[in-house]
């Protein structure tokens, strides 16, 4: 396997006493796309949120096990969670842009990090929106309200905004589920491009999307990791009967 970016061992998460993730262990390779599939409520999004400690924001959550990013335990009590989240960008199902201009959205994180020079901010806006393949569409609309953009553009702007704080991991939770096929295609192409520089984890209900964009796929069911393997193997010859039943629609 390539260099391991995230190493997870015996990760369990209880939410108000109920187990949501059960003893999950897996290694996620650097600069690859890893997809998480499974039925609703199986723990995919919860799992994703353990990686940037977003579950900490919920009451009644307890986490056990280890999550190492570049060998460092992110649940260690000395970890600065804000710094951790700078390293891990996140994109959600629906775009969550601020009701501000396109430019302000793009440089929001950079400004929070104390960058004030307009020139530098402009450079960041251009670089990240080029990385997110949206520059040509917004370069003449930087002062416009970001919420005027199409849904697909808004989602790519969210990705650009996430890139502005220079993360090395990007978590995507159903990033294209609210988009039309053309916008979905653009997001998928973008994921393909971004994996050269970032480690990407994507949760998706769309199995064809998981098959198209990811290098590795993990199948979760009722909080357990059923199977984790190369995507090409999962979708041609999975080891587990449960995985086979899920991906062929014979589940339940």
């Amino acid at each position: 396997m390539k260099e391991i970016k995230i190493s997870i061992s015996n990760l369990s998460l209880n939410y108000t006493g109920k187990p949501a993730l059960k003893n999950i262990s897996l290694n996620i390779p650097a600069k690859r796309v890893t997809a998480f599939i499974g039925p609703s409520g199986c723990g995919k999004s919860t799992f994703l949120r353990t990686l940037n400690r977003m579950n900490d924001l919920l009451d009644g959550v307890s986490v056990s096990g280890k999550v190492l990013i570049d060998g460092i335990d992110i649940y260690d009590k000395n970890i600065d969670v804000v710094n951790l989240r700078k390293r891990i960008g996140m994109v959600f199902q629906k775009s969550n842009l601020f009701p501000k201009s396109v430019f302000d959205n793009l440089v929001f994180g950079a400004r929070l990090n104390g960058i004030k020079k307009e020139e530098e901010l402009m450079e960041i806006a251009e670089r990240t929106s080029k990385q997110a393949a949206i520059w040509d569409e917004i370069k003449d609309r930087l002062d416009e309200n970001a919420l005027n953009l199409s849904m697909g553009q808004q989602q790519r702007l969210c990705i650009a905004r996430a890139l502005a704080v220079e993360p090395d991991i990007i978590l995507m939770d159903e990033p294209a589920s609210a988009l039309d096929p053309i916008s979905t295609g653009k997001i998928e192409d973008l994921i393909y491009e971004l994996k050269n520089e970032f480690t990407i984890l994507i949760v998706t209900h769309n199995m064809q999307q998981a098959a198209r964009v990811s290098d590795f796929t993990a199948f979760l069911y009722m909080g357990e990791l059923v199977e984790y393997d190369r995507t090409s193997r999962i979708f041609t010859n999975p080891s587990s009967r449960q995985t086979e039943d899920y991906i062929t629609g014979r589940f339940g």
């Binding site: 390539k2 290694n27 190369r230 010859n237 014979r250």
Partner: protein, 233 residues
């Protein structure tokens, strides 16, 4: 999905089984035409080859529709990929049955040396291989498929022996040449049917066990030359 999808898969399998029966029957009739010296039966086989072609197109169309509309994966994908190749092999067997009938019509009678050539034993092995291949596919049974693959070697050997015998027969009397050539071709066609039955048997392994045993595939790709687009975990 998906009851509708499963119904489509079932329809595909039913069509393919019908194709199997039709092709099996075509081969039986072609051999019967030779054994019973029955030109009418030979003509019937040739005429019915159209029916095989129609089934071939139907199966292709069903596969195309299922892939386009359902994006099948895993065992469903293997089933559809194999259905296409099995269908193609069956269509070729149908063509060969018609060719056997055509070659027989060139001579219309069993020659005096008929008992000396390997036609009867080759016909018996070939029909057995085709039936077993079909049974293995219908029942998803790799053990029966293995029997088919094992029979291929014997069939090849008989074909080589038949070749030598046919040359001797031709050398003995030039009046034998026309019939000897016709039967040389017929026996060669029986050997080809054995190859197609073997291909079908290999597909059974692929459908049931996700194991590609064609051309030593596993050995080639997974032992010596790792597929470079497949990164290991």
């Amino acid at each position: 999905m998906e009851r509708h999808f499963l119904q489509q898969l079932e329809k595909l399998k039913t069509r393919l089984i019908k194709m199997c029966s039709l092709v099996d029957e075509q081969l039986e009739l072609a051999l019967k035409a030779v054994n019973e010296e029955n030109p009418e039966l030979a003509l019937l086989v040739i005429e019915r080859d159209n029916k095989v072609d129609k089934y071939d197109l139907k199966v292709d169309r069903i596969c195309q529709r299922i892939v386009a509309l359902n994006q099948p994966v895993a065992m469903d994908l293997r089933m559809i990929m194999s259905s296409l190749t099995i269908n193609n092999n069956l269509e070729r067997v149908g063509d060969i049955a018609a060719n056997i009938a055509e070659n027989f019509l060139l001579i219309k009678k069993k020659p005096s040396f008929f008992e000396r050539i390997k036609f009867a034993s080759m016909a018996q092995i070939t029909t057995g291989m085709l039936k077993n291949a079909i049974d293995a596919f219908i029942n998803g049974d790799p053990k029966t498929a293995e029997k088919v693959i094992q029979s291929e070697e014997l069939l090849d050997k008989l074909n080589v022996e038949n070749h030598k015998i046919s040359i001797e027969i031709m050398k003995e009397n030039k009046d034998n040449i026309e019939a000897a050539v016709a039967f040389l071709v017929i026996c060669r066609q029986l050997e080809r049917i054995g190859d197609h039955a073997t291909n079908i048997a290999e597909d059974v392994f692929f459908i049931v066990q996700a194991q590609n045993i064609r051309h030593n595939y596993e050995k080639f790709f997974f032992s010596e030359h790792q597929m470079d687009d497949d990164e290991e975990l």
